[in-house]
Amino acid sequence: MAETAHATATAHAHGGGHGHAHDPNLAHHFEDMGQQRTSATLGMWAFLGTEVMFFGGLIGSYIVYRFTSPDVFGAASKYGLNVWLGTINTVILLTSSLFMAFAVHAGETGDRKAQVRYLLLTMALGTLFMVIKGFEYREEYHEHLIPGPHFSTEALHLPEEPAPPTASAEHAHESAETLKTASFLTVTPVQFVRQRAQMFFVFYFFMTGLHLLHMVIGLGLVTWVLILARRGRFTPSYYTPLEMTGLYWHFIDIVWVFLYPLLYLVALHK
């Protein structure tokens, strides 16, 4: 994937320093280590900018559909997803971010054993996150919530017929919103509700799947950085690969920080 090559390429930029380079990790086209490090950091931040826009397209679309059919997404989220597993996963990912921060700090101070310890802890939590995600997917599979021919909505207590505007005030504004959109469509409100419920799960599986893919890449990077740390390649003046992997990992955590309320906390109050 491009991301792996990117981070590894940045780290490999150190190449064989020849001629005037005094630090073996300095690439030939950089003047000094400071320039190399700030270039790598800026490059990583620009790359994270592209990742933000990559997820941004998805999140923007999700927001549009959530606002045009709020009660359907609310019901699908409340009855379809397991909020507890989502919350546990959030805690796991925040903790793994903490350990990664300690690992980068250990890189700054040159404490090799601490680097290895915290990187291992980060990997462990990352794997745990994926295992829990696996359980969630299995649960949703059994409830036939995977979009496609077998998708069924009876587990979701969807509002069968979105109550006409005269319904109780509590749901009035939301179902009115759905009706306004539905009245626009030539499809019947009942069909529309079923389609939008399936679309919620299209978003759910696509977003969390993409996040998992980035998680796998992140774990790959952490493994590679772990090998370098164990060989003691990082010194207080050169630990760029470790820092870049840290930035990438924190980014994955930030994506989950946004996905969690977007997907799991849509209508907890219902």
């Binding site: 069968e160 017929e161 006409p164 009245s183 626009f184 469509l185 030539t186 499809v187 019947t188 409100p189 009942v190 069909q191």
Partner: protein
Amino acid sequence: MWDFPLFPEQASTLAGWVDGVFFYGLGISVFFTTLICFLVIFFAVKYRRGSRADRSNPVTHNTTIEVLWIGIPLMLALVLFFASTFVYYHLIQYPADSSEIYVLGKQWMWEIQHPEGRREINTLHVAVGRPVRLTMTSQDVIHSFYIPAFRVKQDVVPGRYTSMWFQPTKPGTYHLFCAEYCGTLHSGMIGKIVVMEPAEYEAWLQSGTERESMAAEGERLFRQYGCSGCHGRNASVRAPLLDGVYGHSVALSDGRVVKADERYIRDSILLPGSQVVAGYDPVMPTFEGHINEGDLLKIIAYIKSIGNTERAGR
């Protein structure tokens, strides 16, 4: 020799306005293009290398002139924006008294339905001087109903209704194009807009003998799909009579009371199980997938037409 047109006809009330905005913009464009091209050529000739032109103290930056040529184009552009948005607003707001015509776009033809029942393929007959509003939807991909002579265009999006209006001012026959790429015969999805005198138009409307009104055609379909088997007057199966239902409230078996509008009829046909009338058992089969869009509109028109007879209790 000059047999090909260079400017489209103006055949609708707003065509003149749109052309006005266009000519204003054209004026700006021609002015700036000639100014720039003239200056480039003039400087190129005057200051060619080796010419004895005066090149003393050339200026490389001058903030006032920069502000000038930011401000002036901005003003001109904003005038164009306000003029255009004003005309656009009128292009969108249809007059209340405009007659409504249904347009169904499907891959590579236009199906046009007049409420009086006339149906046409790829041609639309309208009366001069009367505003017409088109309510359009598509059965498959995005099309776009485009009449250059009226300067109107509106994408026809599947899954929702879009609408546009125009008021023809000149009788004649004008082009109808599909402007949004929609597949192999996108360029074949063209047609004619025939603008006639009002009297001629009324005659044309009635002349369609074999074309009975939408409701009459709906009744034929009502029998053809077997609805009359249960909902007819002397039907054997016990099912609610539909005379005098449209527009009135209906009590459902789950206690709710809903108004029998187009949506209610449509849902009852496509998903009968979801709203069963009180006192009847849910035996009606669903017709989803059997009745296409056009026929559904006709059956609804038929049920609407028998809606105002007195309620025959059952």
